[in-house]
């Protein structure tokens, strides 16, 4: 197992390096314009532009810039380790920017993940054990609604109704739990639910289908024939076997949301990592984009690894050498 983990970690590094190199290349080889122009004012002279290029390190060839970025990442820069550089816009540390924004995204994901897991798996199980009943149809109706409703619309409507009309929630914006715990929950409950609804719908459908498939297996029939209580049959034998793909999906979904919850972050003005990446991509602030891409790709790679390891515990048939 240790060898397996070590091998996977090495591959994780390779994957992250590839992702960063591709991002770097996209910005370098397919630029939407010269980032220096943003800092040059109107009608800059060639000399002024050259000076800004030099200041931002844009006057060096692609491979040198990439090499310097990689070197600083591993050895650290003036802001410490890992060296993620500084933003073009403010000259401040990308690392500190990411550290400031990451809790918003992580707390959003954590809260939403708990809701969608409980809601999605719960509805899926209920729907599977009461197949073709009114509960099943209502559950799948909910799933259809969750899948087909755009997050931005749901978010705006939720804000309108629960904040503006009813005054139940704290509205948009982020309140740190260290500043006010009630303020934090009051501001996060709506984005949690809105983000969770989409995923809960997927999880409900997936859990139902997997569980139905598992419940049709011979060993389930054997378990029932042995006279095991239905609760044990479903939760111990059925659900456990049907959870494997759910765990895979759960790990990847959480990792993808590290940089991908941009719509929810925008609608609810949470200004997390996804919003930071999009906003700075539009402003061609490459160091910030690279920083977020790096964090997101590490999250995906690690989540993959964790999911693979969890397989061994969930499914006894899986063993790693």
């Amino acid at each position: 197992m240790a060898f397996y983990i070590a091998r996977r970690l090495v591959w994780t590094l390779v994957v992250v390096a590839c992702v960063v190199a591709i991002t770097f290349a996209v910005f370098y080889l397919l630029p939407a314009g010269d980032p220096a122009l943003r800092f040059a004012g109107k009608n800059p002279t060639d000399a002024e532009l050259a000076q800004i290029h030099h200041r931002l390190g844009l006057d060096q060839p692609f491979y040198e810039q990439f090499g310097r970025f990689t070197w600083h990442f591993f050895t650290g820069d003036r802001y410490g380790w890992p060296g993620l550089g500084y933003t073009y816009a403010s000259g401040s540390s990308v690392k500190s920017l990411i550290i400031a924004r990451a809790p918003r995204t992580l707390l959003l994901i954590m809260g939403a993940a708990i809701i969608w897991l409980v809601l999605g798996v719960g509805i899926g199980v209920l729907s599977a054990v009461r197949r073709r009943s009114a509960t099943d149809r209502l559950s799948m109706g909910f799933a259809l609604f969750g899948i087909s409703t755009p997050v931005f619309w749901l978010g705006l409507m939720a804000l309108y109704i629960f904040w503006r009309r009813l005054g139940w929630t704290g509205g948009s914006g982020y309140v740190s739990p260290t500043d006010s715990l009630t303020g934090f929950f009051s501001h996060m409950i709506t984005p949690w639910i809105v983000l969770a609804l989409l995923y809960a719908a997927f999880y409900a459908r997936m859990t139902r289908n997997n569980l139905l498939e598992t419940l049709g297996e011979d060993y389930i029939r054997t378990a029932r024939a042995k006279g095991l209580p239905e609760r044990t049959v479903i939760f111990k034998h059925g659900l456990r076997a049907s959870l494997t793909p759910i765990v895979t999906m759960f790990g990847l979904d959480i990792a993808l949301l590290v940089g991908g919850a941009v719509i929810t972050e925008s609608v609810f003005n949470l200004q997390g990592l996804g919003y930071l990446a999009i906003n700075d991509a539009l402003q061609q602030d490459l160091p910030v984009v690279l920083g977020v891409v790096l964090v997101a790709s590490v999250a995906v790679a690690i989540a993959n690894l964790v999911v693979d390891i969890l397989y061994a515990f969930i499914d006894p048939r899986v063993r790693y050498a």
Binding site: A32, L37, S90, Y160, W168, I189, L197, Q271
Partner: protein, 632 residues
Amino acid sequence: MKKFLRFALLASAVVALAALAAGCGSKKKSSSGSTTTNSSSSSGGGGVVGSGSFSSGSPAKGGTYTVGWEASFGFTDNFDPTGEYLGNAWGLYSNLMLRPLVGYKHQPGAAGNETVGDLATEAPKPTDNGLTYTYKLRSGVKFGPPVNRAVTSKDVAYAMNRLANPKDGGQYSFYYTVIKGWDAVANGKATTVSGISTPDNSTIVFHLTKPAGDFNLRMSMPATAPIPSEVGKCFEGKPGDYGRDVVSSGPYMLQGADKVKATCPMKAMSGYDGANGNHIILVRNPAYDQSTDPYRKNYINTFKFVVNSNADDIFAKVQSGAYQDEVSSPAPKTIRQYATNSSLKPRMIPNVGDRTNYLSMNLTQAPFDDIHVRKAMNWIVDKNALQKAWGGPIPGSIATHIVPPVLFNNGLAEYDPYATPNEAGDLAKAQAEMKQSKYDPGKTGKCTASACKGVLTIADTRGVDTRMVPILEADAAKIGIKLTVRAINGAYPTIQTPAKNIPLAERPSWGKDYADPYTFFAELFASGTIIKSGNTNYALVGITPEIAKKVGATGNLNNVPTVDPQINACSVKLSEERTSCWENVDRKLMTSVVPWVPYLWPNNVFIIAPNVTHWNYDQFTDGPAYSSVSVK
């Protein structure tokens, strides 16, 4: 348990949102009290909108004024006044934080563009045949914490030297190259500008190499405001870094300025969260003396400028009173909501924005290398439809020439060389013009040459662009020009590169830097401003074969018209003579050069909260006059 029930109810209710939403009607309470909304109107066809103000009772001191700022601050130099070129940042500097030698009354309309003494006792008249400007400083003006001392002429000279030094990131230092010795500093041959002298602490003298009739206006820009050298030295050669520690000479300062020390390296003031951050908080400057400042009222105790990623949320918060104001662009639905609701309407204030939106035709590219085609385009474009594409008369009035009339002190208000019924275009006049073109050899009134097939047009991808493009395609087709439109998300880098030889650009828009037409003509039509990238003379007016070779432009370079002599002649004139001179340049451009189809003078529309008791537009900064706002 109650909490759980509420959350459970919340969860189930979200599921039912779709059904509920359809039945939700507005029950918003209207604002009460007697209110007045005034406009000092400007001209323009298709609906007149002026720069405005709002008043509801007498203003009182105190309170917090929170402004929702859409998406990000978007600073160009991290809020460092030496390099910062963002208009919205200038609004904060000019109203609240900095006192340049020359300032404004922070009023709407042409009056708001008149210069007055700010740090100086007055905006002086030049001496020595327009070559010398001497400013006397007011006594009693002090820097706020952490400096806490009187502002002297040497602090202004220090700011100017910082602006001249390219290593400090000045983004509009080209306005000051008329000062003797400026270029020597810019080229690294000197460290101080020889043409600036400070005979005593309250006098500063500028010696120019040639007259500049708008020099007082140039000395109103934020980069010229005093910077204390004891703080400035911590940021020499570090463009942008001073933005987090701007020392105030105005009524408000960055929160936390009193918590840092003026010793290098300086810690950032807590009120500034960085260009990528999400707040700027300004509080009263304890060193500020109201008696030295006749034009700022300073009712508010604290200003909060907060970034919000959701424009709808910004307007919802303004409507609820959580924000008082916004730096955003109200969507057509928001404008419609306010325009059609009598209680909301006074709180939507459209203001003339000293800006022109236009189609730019490249004078070197067929078929626009023929003036008759360019004139035909001016006759045929349905400006009324384009105005509707922008949302009607509230977002802007129809432009009939280059520079908005407010910059001519409302001169040329009625000038419309291509007037058509209802500004909807005139096919007969367009065809008559086209018949004179070499691209219509058969005199059919339509361009029949191959040059008119597939004319590359660069547009942007905003909603308004997608509404404008079909109108332009249909209009151009009426005179035989078939446009091939390429929509690019962020079209400027493409159209700002002369080597790309773009015949027609749909995206351009230009606003003043300060209240003088020079900031239009010199930057948009002078041949000297044509550069390889970042070029703003999109039409390439005045391009010569030498310039074309330098920037990589190719096309028809024979006899491209120029207005360089006129721009040079006007730039040295003063007062009414100057205004009249610029008006003639505008006329010449519209009739003898015809590089544009100007179609809209956009308004800056602001929506304010129910608890705002006084608000007015600041014509110089093209934004709210923060120094005059009040809340209840």
